[in-house]
Symmetry: D3
Subunit: 252 residues, 6 copies
């Protein structure tokens, strides 16, 4: 399917595409441990693949940029290979990308984020850059909105990182990320992290190895292509609908 990806275009091609492009999509991933069964680039690759599908669905109104391949992952730093940005570095990277694209006439931006640890920083980036650069900047968590498919397909009570849900998404979007012979459920530990999970009264920082000895949670052995397809496609539909409405709003 046709899609505008900045990396694969020459400048005359970009110039022509800008005649119809209304919004740029910036994929934001991470580069961190994903247990024994997913490679460290998992979030980066999933953000990129998901964004390309958005680019296809919203062609010719969307321009997809190169992904930001590192995110805020300090809670995974005890596992070998994890890379992390400080929040201010991630914001600086986004600011410079948005500033550059604004020079080419783009006024609207959607950050497509695959990594929970980035979410607060990206929300701060939206607030800050909207006002500093005078542009509109939106934020979507790749598959967070696929509530129906997740409820139907994901059996693990705990999920969110290198889990049944994420491995399913990888089966659908990028199976090369998976070490099938290493699929394993999370090796969950006791710890204060239980008090601090999303939805609890108190939040806080903990290292991921306090929660899981092998770096994953839930039961990835139950993951499947079908679950991944259902989750990704539901989420794509939600985001395509929202972006379409946003673009229309601004035109009226």
């Amino acid at each position: 399917m046709a899609m505008y990806h900045l990396s694969d275009m020459t400048w005359p091609e970009v110039k022509q595409a800008l005649e119809t492009v209304k919004i740029a999509i910036i994929p934001v991933g991470a580069h961190e441990q994903h247990g024994p069964h997913l490679t460290e680039s998992c979030d980066d690759v999933l953000a990129d693949k998901f964004s390309r599908k958005l680019g296809e669905r919203l062609y010719p109104h969307v321009l997809v940029t190169p992904s930001i391949s590192i995110g805020v992952s300090i809670h995974h730093i005890h596992f070998p290979g994890t890379l992390t940005f400080r929040p201010e570095t991630l914001i600086a990277v986004i600011r410079d990308m948005v500033w550059s694209l604004k020079q080419h006439g783009i006024q609207k931006f959607l950050l497509v984020n695959s990594h929970g640890g980035n979410q607060s920083t990206l929300s701060v980036a939206c607030t800050t850059l909207t006002h500093e650069l005078g542009i509109e900047i939106y934020l979507a968590k790749t598959t967070a909105s696929a509530k129906k498919a997740i409820q139907e397909h994901v059996k693990s009570t705990l999920f969110g990182h290198s889990c049944e849900r994420e491995v399913s998404e990888a089966y659908y979007l990028a199976p090369q990320l998976i070490r099938e012979d290493q699929l394993a459920p999370g090796d969950i530990q006791e710890g204060k992290w239980k008090l601090l999970r999303p939805g609890n009264a108190v939040q806080g920082t903990y290292f991921y190895d306090e929660m899981t000895a092998n770096g994953c949670i839930g039961d990835a052995t139950k993951a499947s292509y079908d679950a991944g397809q259902a989750i990704v496609e539901e989420a794509l539909g939600n985001i395509v609908a929202a972006v379409s409405q946003l673009l229309n709003f601004n035109e009226n």
Copy 2:
């Protein structure tokens, strides 16, 4: 009830209190428009009052600090009187307070936040300062965990700012904030904000006057002392329980 509040103590009194204090509570508010029926200091006062009640419940293990009276409120800036910090300013303020208290031997911190617009910035602050200063820093949204009481008492479908829920909390904690003769439901506007509300597939920044012409949402005329009491007390119970467990965890 007995309570340690840093502002009301001399240094010899603080010195003695530090023998039992295990955690400092830093109230974080905001200083922004709250429609025609609440004063601009509403969030600051509610964070302070709520934190003092926590200090009483957790005495003598908690030291309450002066509140941070301004937050991230740029989305309210079009309404007269709103003050806003840039996210980096709010983080700098917290860093300096935490650094100072660490000099006095405190290692654990709870940010008690009453303003939704601060939440991402405070989450970034937790991540950053935990690692930069080598301390533990937790975050609680004042009454967000009072899910039962909110469901039971709050009738407005839209709430979150100068609304039925917040005015109820003010009735219970600080009635002097309320202009009873000005109580009014939100004057809701059409706009792209509907696409961007919490829980939607796409988030983003919008000015509050795009959503409501008088600066409030929901129906504040339905607020009551009883609703406020139920919400605040349920939330206090949740946070007291969580903090108690966290303090125990660290001792074992």
Copy 3:
């Protein structure tokens, strides 16, 4: 007496007040040890109370903002409970407050400072923000200009912190700050600080505990309400006169 204080107003009230307001007053305090006889919030409370009196005298031309309750107090950090801002944090806080108020149409600002340790930082803030934000920003030390009353009423040769003069001001403005049963003269130490006092040929940083073991100087037992009244009222008169002239100057 009538007075505009931002914290106690709704946005429609602020909107109306802005029709006559010509200058905003930002009280700047500190949160630091004040010996055995004054609480740690002393400077914050005195700056606030003093500024409110200015707001009354200059009504309806002045809008008083919430105080900045922490200042530059690192020289007191060895005493329990002291909080300190780095100079750049204090400047950032002022910048954001001034920027916000400028959005509401205010072009003139007066910092009313009660803490000597803030003075250099505030002077730098005036220089920097005047040019950066294109506004006028003035600075007054609360009672420093009350030269006659100080000479007449203050007997201690050493004063300036939790001293005869400051306790007197507290008797007049905020007696709840005082532990009357703990009033004590400074427990002065030998040390290099004597070489570095204001007015000497060489200045420099020293910790306050090098100078005084109990954290106060002079003889606070000689403090009185009458002295406080005389000092505060003389200073108020001086500042009211100066501000009135400044406002007139700009109108011509």
Copy 4:
């Protein structure tokens, strides 16, 4: 050939590799216009491909990281699609990557840079980070050391960007970057840039469109796979030799 690339490994695989790895290679590219005949990701892809070859030659002593896909390209910003980092952003990105890898025990780093506009910034990064992080950080321009092959194979007098030399390298390393039907010589303009070329007495900033209307220089139509192979292989040999010696030096 065997090679350690961080993106393609799980954390247990990284843990094992770290037993022999002595240096990390960080490819640094750019994302900027490359005339009508190369895509915007050219420098990023060439830095990555070149670094992977280094990783193969120096296996198992080298770990290749994900590339930094944007560089300092403000001089190309007038051409559609160019993205640019401010120098401080690029340094922040490198600092965070190096800091992360240091947590995993790596003490030596080689930046492999394909974009001339990055060179000064990377040199500053080497100086700064060596001292700030207490590590050793080296810098190589991908094919700059291939002096013999360049002299023998490159006929254009002007080269350095989307030129005969760069297209040749792309033929060898990543032919998918090339639009063969669009190959064109540079459309060179008159201008002050002639006074400021490398090697002249005075240097300075100019926009690339002051020099060339189509964004490329030299004559790319003369590029060939053979030239690319000769240039890349000579450079690889030089860098492999230098890195091997550096690793030996540190062991003695």
Copy 5:
């Protein structure tokens, strides 16, 4: 007379001098308009000359560094030729100089400042760097302590910049700065500056051209070598005495 000036020494000479040196003196000047009768480098030269005399008097315990030739002079920027540092730049310059000298074993520093506009920034620098770098840093205004000589010799009621006092100092320390045929009294203007002079109840920023049309104040035509000598020598005596005592203090 013997004196250690860093600029005039080789490294083996510095190495030997460090055996007796206990404190470094850093002259801080400015580069700003000084009316029609003094050159723009006046403050820089006077700080340097004054510091060299201190170096002679305190030989072999003092090492004089190159001067910081630009200061905070934005209030003079409307006059041609004035250069100004932002306060943070001046602090950064001092931080780096102090950090460097600390590497060579020096632990005490005296800033010798000739320019009033620097005073607040330097005071902030002392506070900040004392704690950040773990050193002792002192501050002296060149001739401010010469109270007797100033009272006796200076007849102008207004002085402080390119005035009777400063021209006198130049006659004694650096007569080449003076355009004798251009000596003129200040061309004083009406303005709000009168409300904001040192010692008044309210301070604030004003441009120097609001105060004086020719850039100087007082009556420089009354300046003399004798007055300069008396002022400089009295101040030198005061600072030498204070530094000697400070050095002794630290030895006991």
Copy 6:
């Protein structure tokens, strides 16, 4: 010869000079060890003297500013007396000088740099400030362009710091920098620096004492006034020609 040097002028003189001045020259030096035979201020003095000669040649179109007497010299910090700026400090100093001069109407700037360690930082400064301040900023290394004279006169194979070439320049420009009785060849050490010299495949940071025990390289005993004159004059000619062309370019 006539020359405009900012330090030696009053503001009315600067005002008049600005009628013909088209470019400002900012000398950039360093303050670092130069072996046993040159004083630490060598680079600062040479940059200043060289720039003054440029000012004479290009009179009345050039205004020479006070020199920046400290540069990026951390690689020399192990030798007593060396001062170093962090790269960001050097850029801040240049930014403030350029900003100030822009207020007086100057739009073009030439940095004349005598110290190799500054080169990358200055190149970054040119890129950054050109765009941030909207001015034109050029960079010249004092004598680097004197290729003929260097080839003819300099016999040492290794040169670049306190070497045959630099001592020759000092003989011609500032003989007071030289300790003739201490002239010595470099005391060269084995080390990894040999792998990292300019022109090699890999670059990187090393301390100067890893390369030379006495802090100099090449053979300074072969230096001469005649060599210095030839080198300096050839370089002056090159830079005068380039600047003249650049000024003409901008006029057309």
